[in-house]
Amino acid sequence: MSYSIETDNLTRAFDVKRSVDGKQRKETILAVDHVNIRVKDGELFGLLGPNGAGKTTTIKLLTTLLLPTEGQAKVGGYDVVKEVDKVRRIIGSVAGNEGGFYWHLSARDNLWFFSQLYGLADDQARKRIVLLLDIVGLADRADDRVDKFSSGMKQKLCLARGLLNDPQIFFLDEPTLGLDPNIARTIRDFIREDIVRKAGKTVLLTTHYMNEADELCDRVAILDNGKVLACDTPTALKRMIGKATVLELEVSNMVDDVHAELSGLPGVSHLVVKTTDPSSNSASLKFHMSQEESLSHVIDALVRKNVKVDSMRKTEPNLEDVFIHFTGRGLRA
């Protein structure tokens, strides 16, 4: 089996200063904690986790922008510490922050500039820019200034920029962050169909959108506090929950002490509460129940506390449920 990306106990620690009792104390936090992943050639691999899980730090380590404090990583067979130049030649990357453009220049001029950093000959660069702008749907805006572009257009331009050097391995850090659903869908389709299926590239994608990971990725590693909690295909991950029933309740008049009581009920394995409207104390409750019969106990407890149940539905487990299964909290908690 050939792997495009391999990590072996990859670890990155940061020293941070915290104020405790008015005194500055130095603490070491592990942003990436002994991570072991193997991404196959031509695979679309996802890192799923909440903000601060260590996804971006992992990408920075793999794209040679950070040095690991422990462990090793290879990209395209090259060591990310010892063979930096070789790694940089075969990777492309896109971060979801739309940055790094000359805002007063056109999309074409910007792409030309970056094509030259990758050593593309002028003719070759111009042809590739036309092709990429066409692929991302910006051909008719090629000569418009980038500062006139919408967020979605800038993100598409980022994708085009990342593909300029026709990389073997493509890193996408939250590629649809902050985009409206239609544009996000177009970009997801582009990643899946054009980059992976047609061009056969290997893609490592980070996201905190469970649907994105579920829909796009061949395999997903779930990260939390720098650690890989689980790694498998989305279907296999969801099977890990076993026969647990997932119930979602929308309630109002929610009171604080209900959480503890509900969590302690027999048959309730996990409960995640998200406030949806603080003015009416509305909340969304998600239960993982090992016994469906426990539902009556849940309803009794809510009625006793005068919590009003507005709606209730049984759902299929998704990747967030897998995350809840491992951590006891939601992805956005």
Partner: protein
Amino acid sequence: MTLHTELRAIKAVIITHIKLPLTYERLSWWFLFPLMNLLVYIYVYKALNASTELLGFAIIGGSMVMSWLGVLWGMGNLLARARGSGMLELLLKAPISMISYLTGHAISQALDDAVPLLYTLFLSAFLFDVKLVFPNPFLTILSFSLAEASLYGLGMCFASIFILYGREAHHVANLLQEPIYFFSGFYFPTKYLPDWAGIVSSLIPLTFGLSIVRRCILLGATSINELSPDLYLLAIFAVISPFLARHLLRYMETLSKRAGRLTLT
């Protein structure tokens, strides 16, 4: 990567810089700022009935101020600014040497700063009747070129060092700006400085740059011998500074990668 690729990157940086639109800020920076700054000194000298030679000193220093500011703010802050805009991450991931990017910027910045330099020099000399002489045009061009090359070489070193400071880089630039004005003798001959300050002054390449340019176009130097040893020192600095910057950059990049300071997030 090959030399050809590195040269391609340098050319791309220069062409991209040239394509940037001329904004009002840039025009005022070119045509108003250096002249206004210089006029203050000229009128002080005139009020004190200073000699035309002293006015000439101020005019040459005042014209070259833009090069120093370009080095400090344009070059020095370049990578720190690129870090803030997300560009640095992209540059580092590209398979070119960062020194090519810095070289491209140094050349662009030098071309950019040449506009206010020449404009301020000739306009103020004309307005205040200071006679500029060019007995040996080759020597004049060589002096200017070496002064500029050593300055922008220094700028490349600054860029490498400032990368560690991140958002605080502009404070460092502020800290350096005025003392260098003073010690390099932008507006007055450094021979009037006290001994200890003269020693500091002799450690700054800019002092030599100003000195040889003044000797050429104000005092009419005609041979290289008249400009030695300053000219030779500048030539040495102009040659070694890109290599020094390259080493500094590598060292700083490793430090920054270790500390996690290369990117914002």
